[in-house]
Symmetry: C2
Subunit: 121 residues, 2 copies
């Protein structure tokens, strides 16, 4: 779908526009980019943002699932802010981009625990 | 992002997988396809599904925003079911696919009223 829907600030955003949105730490350093969103199929609630942190030409790059509740949208930055440092992200649960990944409740709980987020599972 | 994340049934789905999911009426006729999702930027909640209903080669095709609460996921169909007939959809609020559309609270309220959905605005 072409990116033709402009939105009112502070309200709605297309899922296709979230993909590619930058993620910053509270100091304003860019940490990475949102690649996809995982939604609860029934309620439509975003549960995880799937982020990447800039591997070199995508080689060996990992996806970092982050609980949606750990993201705060910052209108002035036009992106999301997470209260995490790079070291914490580097040690976080990930999966390979080229892996045929099976998301399980156990994996989800591990992610939620790591970020100290209320668990979805 | 490649479509590499398989999901556990009944739980999570990638936003990129929702795009392209079929929409049926309760009789099982395919009405159209979800093209995008509009999310609340802060809460991450899906508010509208943006659907298209199969225009000829996309010419003159329209987007139909549908309140997310009007969609029910049907595991057996692998798609969403809406309790609407084609005539109601044909008379629904739409916008042109090639339009630089400005989504306003007034337009949102009009959509919510049409589908008798709790309003987001």
């Amino acid at each position: 779908m072409a990116d033709i829907t402009r939105i009112t600030p502070n309200t709605l955003i297309n899922a296709e526009r979230v993909e590619g949105t930058s993620v910053y730490n509270p100091q304003g350093d860019k940490l990475g980019t949102i690649d996809d969103i995982m939604l609860d199929k029934v309620s439509g609630k975003a549960i995880y943002a799937i982020m990447s942190f800039g591997g070199f030409l995508g080689i060996g790059e990992k996806y970092h699932p982050i609980p949606w509740s750990a993201l705060n949208y910052d209108e002035s930055k036009g992106g999301y802010v997470v209260n995490l440092d790079k070291r914490m992200l580097e040690a976080a649960p990930t999966y390979d981009m080229d892996e045929d990944f099976h998301w399980t409740p156990d994996y989800g709980r591990q992610v939620d625990r790591y970020y100290n987020a209320p668990t979805y599972w």
